[in-house]
Subunit: 115 residues, 2 copies
DNA sequence: TTGCAATACATAGCATCACAATGTATAGTA
DNA sequence: TACTATACATTGTGATGCTATGTATTGCAA
């Protein structure tokens, strides 16, 4: 039972990388912060778990889209900061174009309909 | 090698059901026609294979979102026509809301950026 | 009249992969 | 002292997406 409808897992999967890449354009960030930023940005509708996010970050690093460095929070706690690489910029552009393509197709259908 | 970048499979997965439901709002249709309509609608960017579409249609029928009837084309060829059921209307509304939610989050990020 | 392309639907099977579950550790605070 | 929030990591597997393959008819070009 969910008062707020849970997002379809396919949609979460399709948006995770674009969201991460888009957030990192603004500057480096780290896993835990990304989860919160996305939650806030979506009005609490997108709630990533850390268990799903970290493997995605690792994969994106393997792909050469992002890079990481261990850093220290003001509190003294260790954090792994991620930042965008050149290939990540390129990947973001491609993924944004793809998203726009599909969105346009859907919007063409929706503008004629009040579902 | 693709001159036109292939869409990420996650994005295809996330958009298949919304597209089918949205197309069927306009009236009944059948598998092969849906493939072509989506291709045209997307400027040839979304190219579904029949092998992936039919299982999706079967699943959506099992879910009670759509119903099918065997019909005859003008040519005499047999076709399976699908149409939207009440639950399909509901599913479409939910999926559209979800799509809008994620799109808005992305657009908030993109409007500040020229990637 | 033959053969190819387009039309039209179907499903078995398996490779993959998303992510739940679990583990570790520290800081803050009630 | 104990609980919550912060912070990162990985394993294992069950689900499932989709490739590959099969069947059949129509239309048409050669």
């Amino acid at each position: 039972m969910y008062s707020i409808a849970m997002l379809a897992k396919e949609l979460v999967a399709a948006s995770t990388e674009p969201l991460i890449l888009s957030l990192l354009v603004k500057g480096e960030s780290y896993g835990y912060a990304l989860i919160q930023e996305v939650k806030r940005l979506s009005g609490d509708k997108i709630e990533w778990t850390d268990g799903m996010l970290y493997p995605v970050l690792h994969r994106m690093e393997r792909e050469g889209w992002i890079q990481s460095r261990w850093g220290e929070a003001e509190t003294g706690r260790k954090r792994k900061y991620y930042s965008l690489k050149k290939n990540g910029q390129k990947a973001l552009k491609e993924q944004r174009d793809q998203w726009v393509t599909v969105s346009k197709a859907l919007q063409q259908l929706w503008k004629e309909q009040y579902v």
